[in-house]
């Protein structure tokens, strides 16, 4: 039962990274693009607006129902970065909605765009920092520690910062590859393809940096990774896909399906690999072991009810989603 719930948690997390990540990334891409790209991006994103956050909400709900101790501890220690993520989400969602639905197009439009782009970048950086802080092992629940050691040091360090920038870069890469298929204008397509390549290289370099800095900060990430066969396989798959995606980016003919499939598998592989290395640890605690899925799970009665709700929910939601996407494809009469 626990494994099933953890799997659903993992899947919702990956879906958030893919769908929400593309949303965030599009905002980052937009900062480097012109007026025409802005129109394309707005059009591509409008139908899903903030609906993608439901995957994040799902993950949070699973966490606080199934593993309440982890949820409570995380939101105590990482209060500040979580708050920043929330502010980012609020700012982004409202700026985008207002830009899209505001009937007047004037000066206010420029402010919306600025806020939208800024928050699209900041939010994933803090998301990455939070993930970094969970595994780095500087989190402590010892109340006698100083404010700095308790609430700042766990996430404000080079490792977490690199994780943050890596996350933002990954999202930008994801979004630009996705956007290649969203335009019919050749000049625009080339710009997205170019941006895809740049961000791909940057993501690889940053990924490498994450390992190097982990080593420098005295974390055993590299060693755990080398001992985890699934982790190595996943990263290998991700790396192997790079030349293919590169190849399709150079094609003038529309290869949207291959590109999207490729990037989807790639991002999933990276996250799944990381999930494998992590499991079952949720938070590394300084000097006192770790919080895992096993030692923080809720009583069986709760997990059972949670699983029922999740399965019924998914049975209803997945066909719904498929129907929704098909509606978008239908041409308006």
């Amino acid at each position: 039962m626990l494994i099933l719930i953890v799997t659903i948690l993992g899947v919702s997390f990956i879906l958030y990274a893919l769908l929400g990540g593309a949303d965030f990334g599009a905002g980052i891409v937009e900062s480097f693009a012109g007026k025409r790209e802005e129109v394309t991006i707005s059009r591509a994103m409008a139908p899903v607006w903030e609906a993608n956050h439901v995957w994040l909400i799902l993950a949070v709900v699973i966490l606080f129902t199934g593993f309440p101790v982890v949820y409570a501890s995380l939101s105590w220690v990482l209060h500040i970065p979580l708050m920043m993520v929330l502010l980012g989400i609020i700012m982004r969602g409202t700026a985008f909605t207002f830009r899209h639905y505001d009937v007047h197009q004037g000066r206010s439009h420029k402010y919306y765009s600025f806020l939208f782009r800024l928050s699209s970048f900041i939010t994933p950086v803090f998301l990455g920092m939070i993930l970094g802080a969970m595994i780095l092992g500087r989190i402590s629940f010892d109340r006698s520690e100083t404010f700095y050691n308790l609430f700042i040091a766990p996430w404000l360090n080079w490792f977490c910062l690199t994780m943050g920038v890596f996350t933002a870069c990954l999202f930008a890469y994801l979004a630009s590859v996705f956007l290649v298929g969203e335009t019919k204008i050749e000049r625009e397509r080339i710009r997205y393809a170019k941006f895809s390549k740049h961000s791909m290289i940057a993501t690889m370099i940053l990924g490498l940096l994450v390992f190097i800095i982990a080593q420098a900060e005295g974390h055993s990430l590299t060693r755990t990774f080398l001992h985890s066969t699934p982790g190595i396989i996943m990263l290998f798959i991700a790396a192997l896909l790079c030349p293919f995606i590169w190849h399709f980016l150079n094609q003038e003919r529309n290869k949207t399906l291959y590109l999207r499939l490729g990037i989807g598998v790639q991002v999933t592989a990276i996250l799944a690999g990381w999930f494998y290395i992590q499991f079952p640890v949720l938070i590394e605690v300084k000097n006192s072991g770790e919080l895992t899925f096993y030692n923080t799970q809720a009583p069986a009665a709760t997990l059972e009810q949670l699983l029922i709700a999740l399965i019924v929910g998914l049975l209803l939601v997945i066909p719904g989603f498929i129907f929704l996407f098909r509606v978008f494809k239908i041409k308006a009469k």
Binding site: E50, A72, W76, L86, V103, A301, T302, L316, V327
Partner: protein, 429 residues
């Protein structure tokens, strides 16, 4: 937390009611083929899209804030009341999908299938509201676990969800959502009707909204009565606070209005109706009603704010019920009154009242439960985050929400101002 909930509750009410109004209006269009109903549905759906997106964002924030501000509460309560939250998540998910189909399905789907998606939005919207209220009801009437040595054991999430208070609270909240939203919508259109006399579009919009608003407003006092009876049984301290009953009395007077004085333990400037409280709470004019004197000092809720909010809610509730009654009478007998200037002014003035009552009612149930966060089990001060400097993040959230409210207000005004350009029926008299 209070600020974001107070903000979110408005969106939740809209999310519960607007889809029903839209589906009803679309149904009228499908039946009669009159353009005006279609225009109304479309104009409303634009507003709903804005509110829904902002509501989804503030809902995301809330799911985090539960932990950010109340880590101790969530540590213990998460496993017990996580279930209504997971069902709420599911219902909200379906609502989001169905709303997507509704907003983007115009001219793409069979008309009746499009209408069905609207119905689905309505049902899931109402359900998601009810699930959240059931979690709140559990805080008032905790059940489904045993509290032993500061820990919850023998957890039964199903029993926790269907606690004693959930049904009365769910009904009261759903009706409140309908009253507040419907009157707000009717009020805006009545206001526009005053500026642009005789426009068919606004007349029909007022009518559609008031059909739902008036029925709900007339049912609300009844549901309120049953809620109060439940409170009298389960939370005597809360009842005493909202009625400002300092001393246990037999029979107890109903205190209307007035300013409670905590020091002298009496209510100034109030009207007293002898025995009425005994009758309302226990069904007997001579029954004893427990006052605050039976409650230890440290377990008493703040009386002044609870009492005044309660009076405000009841006052508005009865006023809107009266307006609704008049509306029904006019509709049946004196239709010509419905387009009279004074009547439209009354409706226009009522625009914010419903939401004011919702906020007041929410204040009543929250402050009336104090000092407990889980009634009789956990105190609020033990649940709040122990992080130093918490007030700064509180301040930030408050400012952000205030700004958001201002921007939405401004944006809606711009939307409303363009109605007359977009919809032909909004111009015809």
């Amino acid at each position: 937390m209070a600020v974001s909930l107070g903000f979110h509750i408005v969106f939740a009410c809209m999310g519960m009611t607007m889809p029903v109004l839209m589906a009803f209006s679309e149904w009228r269009w499908l039946k009669t083929g009159k353009q005006v109903y279609l225009d109304i549905t479309k104009a409303w759906s634009k507003g709903v899209a804005i509110f829904f997106a902002v509501g989804a964002v503030s809902g995301t924030v809330l799911s985090f804030e539960l932990g950010l501000l109340w880590p101790e509460f969530m540590k213990h309560a998460g496993a017990i009341i996580g279930m209504p939250f997971s069902w709420e998540g599911t219902a909200f998910f379906i609502e989001a999908i169905a709303l997507g189909v509704f907003l983007y399905g115009w001219n793409r789907l069979n008309k009746w299938i499009h209408w069905l998606s609207g119905i689905l939005v309505s049902v899931s919207g109402i359900l998601s509201g009810i699930f959240v209220v059931s979690a709140n009801a559990w805080m008032n009437s905790p059940s489904g676990f045993d509290w032993v040595n500061g820990r919850a054991i023998n957890i039964d999430p199903v029993k926790a969800m269907f606690n004693d208070a959930w049904l009365s609270q769910a009904i009261h909240m759903t009706l409140a959502a309908f009253v507040s939203t419907a009157f707000a919508v009717a009020g805006v259109h009545a206001f526009l009707l005053l500026k642009n006399r005789g426009r068919l579009f606004h007349q029909q919009a007022v009518k559609t909204a008031l059909i739902f608003g008036s029925v709900a407003a007339l049912l609300q006092p009844i549901s309120g009565h049953f809620s109060a009876e439940g409170v009298a049984k389960r939370q005597p301290a809360k009842l005493a606070a909202l009625e400002a009953l300092y001393k246990t009395s037999k029979p107890a007077d109903l205190v209307i209005g007035g300013l409670p004085n905590d020091k002298e333990e009496r209510v100034n400037y109030a009207i007293h109706i002898p025995g009425a409280l005994s009758f309302l709470a226990k069904g007997d004019f001579n029954a004893e009603v427990q006052g605050l004197d039976k409650v230890p000092k440290e377990d008493r809720p703040p009386v002044i704010i609870t009492h005044i909010s309660f009076q405000l809610m009841v006052l508005i509730g009865f006023f809107l019920a009266l307006v609704s009654l008049l509306y029904l009478v006019f509709t049946i007998k004196w239709r010509y009154v419905l387009i009279k200037k004074w009547w439209l002014s009354v409706i226009a003035l009522a625009t914010p009242l419903g939401f004011l009552a919702v906020e007041a009612g929410w204040t009543v149930t929250e402050t009336g439960r104090q000092p407990w966060i889980i009634y009789g089990i956990m105190r609020t001060k033990d649940a709040v985050s122990s992080m130093p400097g918490l007030r700064y993040s509180f301040l930030v959230v408050t400012v952000v929400y205030l700004l958001l409210s201002l921007i939405i207000f401004w944006l809606m005004r711009r939307q409303i101002n363009t109605i007359h350009e977009f919809y032909p029926t909004a111009k015809t008299v």
